[in-house]
Structures are given as C-alpha cells and as structure tokens.
Subunit: 217 residues, 2 copies
DNA sequence: TGACTTAGCGACCGATTGGTCTCTAGGTTG
DNA sequence: CAACCTAGAGACCAATCGGTCGCTAAGTCA
C-alpha cells in the first residue's frame, strides 16, 4: 500500500542536519529531502537503468512520497537532469581531487580515468547519454550539460605533466578518444567480460598516448 | 481503436511472396509476418530505443496484431533476442561483403568499420547491449549472442592484409579496442557532435594501428 | 499566539504496459 | 467436400506509468 519503505537510512540526509536540537529550518528540510531524492535517483539509474527509474522507484528508494517529490521537481525529466548535473559534478570532483593530491603521470592517470568511467557515477551519466539518443526531450536538456562536462574532462588533462605540453586541440582529441573508448568498454564488458584483454588494453592505451605525444611535440 | 495502421507498405514481405498467383503456403505466410515483425522491431529500437519498443509500437509499425505477434514469439524478450541475432547477422554480412569485394587495406577498412558502427543496425545492437546491463533477463539471453558476435568481428580482421600477420590475441586486442571506441563515439556524438575531432580521430587510429602492427611483427 | 507559507503525504486519474483468450480466416490433408 | 490445423485479429486483463489535488504537518513572522 505504502511506497515509502526505505526510510531515511540510505540517504545522506545528515548533510542538512539541524545545527542544534531536533528542529530544522525549512531550508534544511528541503535540502535533506532533495538530497535523498538525488541519491535515490542516481542509485536507481545505476541499478535498474534510465527506463526502470520510475517515479515510484525513486519514491520507494528515497522514502519520499510522490507529493513530496513533485514539490521539488516539476517532472521526471527535471529530476533526471538534476541527477545528471550532480553526477557530472561528482565525477569531476573525484578526478580533480585525485589529480590534486597525486602528482602521478600518464601511466597512473589512465587507470584512474578508467576507474572513474566504470564507477556507478559515470554509469549513470552514460545511461542518460544513451537514453538521450532516442528521447528528444531528454537530449535537448542534457546536451548543454554534456558539452560542459566533456570539455571539463578534457581540461583536467592539463594536470597530467605529459599532456600539459600538448595544444588544447590535441589534448582534447586524445582525451575524448580515451573517454569514448572507456565508455564503450564499460558496456561490452558487462556482456562479455575479458579481464586479460582489458589488462592488455590499458597498456595499449598508454603506448598509444605516448606515441601520440611523441609525434606532436 | 486499431493499432494496425502501417499496413504492409514498410515491410519486406516480398521476400516470402507467393511463387504464383495470390495464394500463399502457411510457410510463406509465417515467413512474411515474422519478417515484417523483425523489420518493425529493428526500426523501432533504432528510433525510439529499447524501452520505447513496446509490443504496441511494434504492432503499429508492422501492421500485425498483438495476437499475430504472440503467435510467433512467446514474449517481448523472445522478439528482441530474435532481432538481436538478425542485427548481428546483417552487420557481419555487410562487413564481409565489403571485405570480399574490396581488396582494401587498413586505411580503407577503418572508415568502413566506423560506418558499420554508426549504422542503424549497430545502433540497435548497442541499444540492446546497454539495456542488458541493468536487465538480468535480457543479459542472460544476449550474452551468448554477444560472445559470438564480438568474436566474429575480430575474426573479420584476418581479411585485412596488415592485420593478417598479427597473432589472434593481438588482432583481437586491437579490433575489440577500436570496436569499443567506435561504440562510445556513437553515443557522445549524438549529444555533442564534433566533426573536426572525429576526422582527426580516424587518422589518429590509423596511425596508431600501423605503429602497433610495426611493433608486434 | 494566530495568520501565513512551505514541506510532505497518499488517494486518485487517464493512459499505457506485457500478456491472454476467444474467435474467424485461410491453408492442408484425407 | 469435411475435418483439421495454423495464422491472425482484437477485446480484454491486472499492473504500472507520470502527474494532480486536497489535505495535514512543520516552520516563519507579525
């Protein structure tokens, strides 16, 4: 009868916890609920896909009612676009943190990049990108977000010493190519896993990048 | 009221046309209907995605009734798996025909491969591969088909002179990598098209493939 | 405190989903 | 021709879809 089964357990509601006592401001209440909805939407897309992420599914996972959801998002599309922006931001934040704290060169950055593209966060992104191909409404809303996201990924390459010397154009060519490759690999490996090939491929990509850099500098 | 609007116009029903006169055998009737359903399923997945390819959508496109559809396929999953097998077969047939009639080397084979991966046929395949990630029933049925399909693609490489000398392992590594790259590219370009980058990328892949071949032989 | 606003709930709506069932049309076989 | 079988049609089913609406709960502010 009641869709709200998950409760607040899975949510990161603590983010907007009251500063003191049991009383929360309206701002805090709103933030906490939106945050639970975001987490639920992201995990739903990752686990049951874009098509399976119905309003009911998100309500079930978040413990928020339909009425509560539609208070903060006008439509499913609005919810999903918010999740896409969140997911792009998290992906970049994690990668940036790694590049900042780690002085690593190309041979360390590539496995990091592959790991990022296999993470739940990027799977959600990719799921939305694929759905956008055949859903005009989603595509129109997602395209500008994608444009910024993809550019930001290429810009991150500046923090890798070997790539810093490349022109913007060459660096973007190289990184966008590796990005597409990792995304394609994420799909084929879900269907036909080939751990040996994957290991060899990482070496191959590193050789490819070094070959490319040598030719262009 | 009636879903059957398309009629027989869009179908390739002519394949199973009666040998003479207006009378058809049961075999011919069945073949013609299944063929119309396959074409409708493939075009539907290509245009409205896997999730949008409902039984109703396929019936509308094919002009076959629900009863007629379920006469030949026990479930939507059966229909979709049949379409996947058809799509893999067509992809390979087209590529094989090109490689047979054309003596072309690597520099011609790569654009052909990219074109194949952008074709409606491969988009249908990829749409199913992505859906299979979060749909266990689909994944179980699609995995063996995918295994054969992917292996066949790598085997096609033997017909490209430059790749013939490589070991099976190296050839598979190279071709599966390019395959994943082209599939990933097909998605990102639908959202953020970059014709200039795509042109540069094709050259880049060719140069790298030549570099790889030189190192391994 | 009392008036007002925002957050959140869940019954409800019409449309659509995958699938079933009964019935008719058409081809096959004695 | 009669009996039989497969092909195909479409009304119908329960479940689920995205979204609405009237209501109560909680926070704000005079």
């Amino acid at each position: 009868m009641n869709e709200n089964a998950a409760g607040a357990g899975a949510a990161t509601g603590a983010v907007a916890a009251p500063a003191s006592g049991g009383r929360r401001t309206q701002r805090e209440r709103k933030r906490a609920t939106v945050s639970r909805l975001m987490d639920a939407t992201i995990s739903a897309i990752a686990e049951v896909g874009y098509a399976g992420t119905s309003i009911g599914e998100v309500c079930r996972r978040s413990g928020v009612s339909r009425g509560g959801l539609f208070r903060h998002f006008d439509s499913r599309l609005d919810l999903v676009i918010a999740a896409a922006e969140e997911v792009a931001a998290r992906h970049l934040a994690t990668a940036r943190a790694w590049l900042g704290g780690h002085g690593g060169g190309l041979r360390e950055a590539l496995p990091m990049m592959r790991e990022r593209h296999r993470d739940e966060i990027n799977i959600v992104w990719f799921e939305l990108a694929v759905a956008a191909r055949s859903d005009a409404g989603l595509r129109d809303r997602l395209a500008p977000v994608a444009d910024r996201f993809y550019r930001a990924i290429s810009d991150l390459g500046r923090h890798v010493p070997e790539l810093a010397a490349l022109s913007d154009r060459d660096r973007h060519l190289l990184i966008s190519t590796v990005r597409d490759l990792f995304d394609g690999e994420t799909i084929s490996r879900a269907l036909v896993p080939e751990p040996g090939v994957e290991a060899d491929r990482l070496t191959l990509i590193a050789e490819f990048a070094e070959f490319f850099i040598a030719r262009r500098t």
